[in-house]
Symmetry: C2
Subunit: 415 residues, 2 copies
Amino acid sequence: MNVGASSTRTQSVHLFPIPAHACRVAHLPSTKFDRWALARIQRTVVSAPIRFELWDGFALDSGAGPRVGTIRFRNRRTLLGWVWDPDLNFGEAYMSGAVETSGDLVSILEAIYHALESSKPRAWWLWQPSNNGHAAKHNVHHHYDLGNDFYRLWLDREMVYTCAYFPTPDATLEDAQVAKMALACRKLRLKPGDRVIEAGCGWGSFALFMARHYGVSVRAFNISSEQIAYARSRAKVEGLTDRIEFVEDDYRNIRGTCDAFVSVGMLEHVGAPDFPTFGRVIDRSLSENGRGLLHFIGRNQPAPLNPWIRKRIFPGAYPPTLREVFEHVLEPHAFSVLDVENLRLHYAKTLAHWRQRFSRSAPLVSEMFDETFVRAWELYLAGSEAAFGTGSMQLFQVLFARGASNAVPWTRVTG
Amino acid sequence: MNVGASSTRTQSVHLFPIPAHACRVAHLPSTKFDRWALARIQRTVVSAPIRFELWDGFALDSGAGPRVGTIRFRNRRTLLGWVWDPDLNFGEAYMSGAVETSGDLVSILEAIYHALESSKPRAWWLWQPSNNGHAAKHNVHHHYDLGNDFYRLWLDREMVYTCAYFPTPDATLEDAQVAKMALACRKLRLKPGDRVIEAGCGWGSFALFMARHYGVSVRAFNISSEQIAYARSRAKVEGLTDRIEFVEDDYRNIRGTCDAFVSVGMLEHVGAPDFPTFGRVIDRSLSENGRGLLHFIGRNQPAPLNPWIRKRIFPGAYPPTLREVFEHVLEPHAFSVLDVENLRLHYAKTLAHWRQRFSRSAPLVSEMFDETFVRAWELYLAGSEAAFGTGSMQLFQVLFARGASNAVPWTRVTG
């Protein structure tokens, strides 16, 4: 680890500038107050088998059973920052290197998630500002315009940046992403000539897949310029430009009618205040016998996204419960829910693949950005894997149709 | 048709006594006022291709396309009753014979459902009284204690009185009920030794099926004395008394822990005000890695059950939306929804089978009760078939587990 050293590399992009003193190791021994602060932190996750340690070696052990790892604070500032706002400052401190961990990071985070499990549901999203067109553009740019070269380092061949579907747990990531797209198409019963609208199309892999394998025509929307440019060039190379239109625009500007409305990995970026708008967009788009598929990160109870993830990784994001989606997106338009599948363990596995690939590419990522960025992304990927692995986050696929449509499948499909 | 004549049969049971004058044919020609009332009725379902006719032959035609049937009013009292409260009094008038129909009853009702589709969602259930233990007992007795001999006339061999699962549309009802039970067991991943709690067990078919084919032990609850007696005698005959306990008690009194909590066709009788109680019962029953399955009649938007059905057929019943079930039953306990399937077309088909069998047994049913009862049940079965067939009602199967449990299926099953 070489935090801060990257500031001498002129070619790298510093997205998360960290002052040099932030991760300096304190040279004074810990005081009674420091030990009180450490005990306070330890008590919040008292059932997690983790050692908490100060810069001078003073340590407290939590939980029962074999210890999964150690969390070490390098200085008092970091210690107090964590006491003050643990949800935000764990990430900040980890990213800067002011907190160090030993042991498997995912296991440490899983232990923390399990220990924190008992929080009560609240209407968190009421506090969230609406992601209007401008904010949405800013939020998406923050994450998805980090550069196609960056994502190419660790995503699959098709550049699919959403939960894969592993027919068996040992399937490859490449196969699992193809299986996910095929499963979604089969759920939607796509047939040649169908008109598909895709809200949030990433690098275009799913739109290309649908057009290529199911003979449908697709209008795919995205506000990330980098992703749209990539998707358009792929459509050209594959000779699919007559069947796919990649539109650089906000989902609110979707017009026209479709036989299938799909949105994979976008609803969690819409934000709860804009769910009614999203519902109206679907309602005005879907034909009488159309089918819709929403694939999104969700929760079992309403809770805000971790504030560090929201600050550093996904500004404006909110993973909703099924109830919130049904209440604000589907029920107002009397859509009929045909089929829901929860793929959270598939997302934990997808993230494990990404994390492994990311880790192999870390030296290159550090060259592109810096070490702080690498640590931030390691934490984001490990934290997400732990969240899906412990049930703190869910991945829902919801298939629906208009209430009065009888053009619905007689039996459902499985992967 | 011989309405009222059955009042001379002393052996029959008159559940719905109808005064003789209710269905008398008016001998005076219709007035301007009668024709105004008929036009008013016709306008509420103006798009339905139905003829509305008065006792003297005056008729109004609605809708476009081929006419599906005629509704004929025998007297002014019936006509005005319909204007006053169509939801209740269509049923009352049909049952008594004061309204006659020609053409297929299901098609007529489907046309009406389609024409009425545009009503807005409201929090109807706020007006509904809670089904406390006493009310629940009364409500259940009203319907389920009509006599096992009655239900044996037209249900399948296993006496399953809930939506079947037809692997193909032409499967027999007998096969489809077995397929439904097998599908539910496979969704629940039952294995030998599992402890199952069943809330609302009907005549015990599913409890017997689970114990027989999956080697589980079952505690099955029901407050219908007739059903419990029948179920117990079947368990004795099949030598399954060591593995099944049929408990004549309310779901609120369920105690003990289980690996699988199942409820097939009961939630719609619980009533929305008691959903939180039902959620607490599940929460205190389900083991750490347990699975739950709720199979229930629902809606796409909140709406009350038709008042005639509630008065004559299912007092206290309320078919909820998925959102209402998630909000009041599952979300408060952080249950994780794994899988939802909508089987409404399977219920339309189940009802078509029941209706056909019921119709064949109508003379016997008329002997047991009277002609009014036969007409009431014909309307209930036809109305239900039309409701599921047009998407006015849904049939949901919801599979769930505790949020932190990873003992969840990797892939889902299909029928």
